[in-house]
């Protein structure tokens, strides 16, 4: 496969990387943001419209991140203060976000607007093969690499990261250890939502320029599937994003030869998600994973224990 095609795959995966890492962080804290599809549409629209009106990409990305954050915080607030079901609020926000994006963005459909410029990194881009794939991209793509590495380091190798895991696994125990569970949940849900919003913006400003109805083509739902496929682990999740982008681009290339298969390939993350969930719960696989640590770590993965629940002091 030529490096040019691989470069397209890397760039195509970028919105997914942002959304999937964002959702992984949120879910690690014990909150499910099911509104991803609506959030991404609304933030993709907002990002494009703000960019179109102001001409500033920074403002566009900030606006998109704020929208993603507001959607996510609505879920956190409803769960923490009102003790409403996160899934219920998430589903309603998905539908509301989808329709609101179509309605508010109606005057901006298929208009040419600003986009993120390519920014090859000097010296590094001259590395044969790899240079073209990884270092001849734009700032969004570079940020997504850093995000993957940073999140991995943060979750597993810092004290704050351990606390993040703790509030998603054992909120009561964390509370008695002195962690402010609900404040931290607001924080990480907000950050996760902002990343989802940036994912939406990178869609309309980079991968599929502009705005149209249903612009993000189910990427929100796909992100939710990849979070599980990735076993709530940032690097595995990122691998899932690149794998899915590969399938998508492969499907496009396949279109002239095998039109039927190419239409069906985009749903691949969903059966994979179900298989992952089956494997996680399958005794033999669990035992196997415990026995052979190295391979085990690749297939193991478990949802945070307190995911989707509200926490309050008794």
């Amino acid at each position: 496969m030529s490096p040019e095609i691989l470069a397209i795959i890397v760039s195509y995966a970028t919105p997914l990387v942002f959304a999937v890492i964002g959702e992984t962080i949120t879910e690690k804290a014990g909150v499910v943001n099911l509104s991803l599809d609506g959030s991404m549409l609304l933030s993709a629209m907002t990002g494009f419209v703000i960019g179109y009106m102001t001409g500033s990409l920074y403002l566009a990305v900030i606006a998109a991140a704020s929208i993603g954050s507001i959607m996510a915080l609505t879920i956190a607030f409803s769960s923490i203060v009102f003790r409403l079901n996160q899934i219920a609020v998430g589903i309603v926000l998905t539908l509301l976000g989808t329709k609101l994006a179509a309605f508010l963005g109606q005057d901006f459909v298929r208009k040419p607007g600003p986009y993120v410029q390519n920014l090859p990194i000097p010296v590094l881009e001259d590395i044969p093969y790899i240079g073209t794939i990884i270092f001849n991209q734009n700032i969004m793509v570079y940020s997504s690499y850093l995000l993957i590495i940073f999140t991995f380091w943060f979750i597993f190798y810092t004290k704050a990261g351990l606390n993040l895991q703790a509030i998603g696994e054992r909120p009561e125990a964390s509370f008695s250890r002195g962690l402010q569970v609900n404040k931290l949940r607001y924080l990480y849900t907000g950050i996760g939502g902002a990343l989802v919003g940036i994912g939406g913006a990178s869609f309309s400003l980079d991968v599929k320029l502009g705005w149209s109805d249903g612009h993000v083509v189910n990427f929100g739902w796909i992100s939710l599937a990849i979070v599980i496929f990735g076993g709530w682990h940032p690097i595995r999740a990122a691998f899932g994003c690149y794998f899915f982008a590969f399938l998508q681009v492969f499907a496009l290339k396949l279109q002239p030869i095998l039109p039927r298969l190419s239409q069906v390939l985009p749903i691949m993350p969903f059966p994979l998600m179900i298989i992952t969930l089956l494997l996680i719960n399958y005794k033999t696989v669990q035992n196997f994973a415990d026995k052979y640590q190295f391979i085990g770590n690749l297939i193991k993965g478990r949802a945070p224990s307190a995911i989707g629940t509200s926490f309050w002091r008794q």
Partner: protein, 349 residues
């Protein structure tokens, strides 16, 4: 289960807040407010024809909502109804394409096929949940998309129109497979009968049968229900099967009475819209009828809004979304207030 015990005052208040929010949105877009609400009424129930069209939306939405209430009552977050509608429609189309028989025989066969198709897809979510430990939210979501993949494959592949491989849809069914309609209207009495009968049966199940009571008990507290001797797994599985079968019927009405062929968007989004209906009803089967009727009116009204006012077609959905969001948040606020009051009265004792 998540019981939403909503005070009537909060319902009315929520409706008002929603209408105010929608009106503000209309003001921002320079749309005449009064005209909008007038068109909503005229466009949906203003004439017999319009009422007929509204009822044709009402049927699949009601079927999807009753299907959802079967599983929600059992404490299951079923978002797999879209897929079950698709499965029902695919099964219907298979019979409509392959079986050549007089209309009554053919329609009965299609009805049975749609129920089986939907129940198969719903049962799959159930098996994944009960035997495989796959949460029904993600099992259902995954199978929604698998069903969509299947329908796209069928429409451009084996069932494609002669010479054209497009995602537009299959050839129309043979005319004997169409639901008979009233003279000069799109309204099909058979669809209405299916919708009403299913709704009555489900209301009956939950109010009069021990199956319904045990299912509710399973939803409220599965562990306690199990210890009291209810075979909870079997009850959950039946909820998935029955719910799936009902959703399959929605697929039947979509294929045989709405589109008369298989199209990729056959589900019409009713599986998701139904979730809003069920949340708005606070999981009370008797409230399904008025809410689905209101939602069908809004969906029909938005056609008029687009024609007469140039409003974007998504506005009906915005209206429905804002309505449900305000009700849910006000419900949460009501519960929050109640806890605060209890907390204070406990302290004063």
């Amino acid at each position: 289960m998540i019981k939403i015990d909503l005070n009537i005052i909060y319902y009315v208040a929520a409706l008002f807040v929603a209408i105010i929010l929608v009106s503000i949105l209309l003001l921002l877009f320079n749309v005449p407010i009064f005209e909008t609400y007038k068109l909503l009424i005229i466009g949906s129930v203003g004439s017999i024809d319009k009422l007929g069209d509204t009822l044709m939306i009402w049927v699949p939405l009601t079927l999807a909502s009753t299907s959802l209430i079967m599983t929600f009552k059992a404490g299951l977050w079923n978002i797999g109804v879209e897929g079950q509608i698709v499965a029902g429609a695919v099964a219907t189309s298979f019979v409509a394409r392959e079986l050549h028989a007089p209309t009554p025989v053919l329609l009965s066969a299609m009805l049975i096929a749609s129920v089986l198709g939907g129940a198969l897809w719903g049962g799959l979510v159930g098996v994944l949940k009960i035997k495989g430990g796959v949460n029904e939210i993600f099992g259902g979501l995954g199978l929604d998309f698998v069903a969509t993949g299947m329908i796209v494959y069928l429409v451009i592949g084996p069932w494609s129109r002669k010479g054209i491989a497009s995602t537009g849809g299959t050839e129309p069914f043979q005319s004997t497979a169409w639901f008979p309609t009233l003279e000069g209207m799109r309204l099909s009495p058979l669809s209405i009968v299916i919708g009403v009968v299913v709704l009555i049966i489900v209301i009956f199940i939950f109010s009069k049968t021990s199956f319904g009571v045990k299912l509710k008990a399973t939803g409220l507290n599965p562990l306690a229900a199990y210890r009291l001797g209810i075979p909870t797994s079997r009850y959950l599985f039946s909820a998935f099967l029955i719910g799936g079968g009902i959703a399959g019927l929605a697929g039947l009405t979509q294929a045989a009475s709405m589109h008369h062929r298989l199209v990729p968007a056959i589900s019409g989004g009713y599986g998701f819209l139904g979730i809003l209906v069920v949340l708005l009803s606070g999981f009370r089967p008797a409230l399904i009828l008025p809410i689905t009727f209101l939602f069908s009116m809004i969906s029909m009204g938005s056609v008029q809004w687009q024609l007469r006012l140039g409003l974007h077609s998504s506005f009906g959905g915005v209206f429905q979304g804002i309505l449900v969001m305000t009700v849910i948040l006000l419900t949460g606020y009501q519960l929050y207030r109640r806890r605060q009051l209890n907390f204070k009265s406990d302290r004063n004792k």
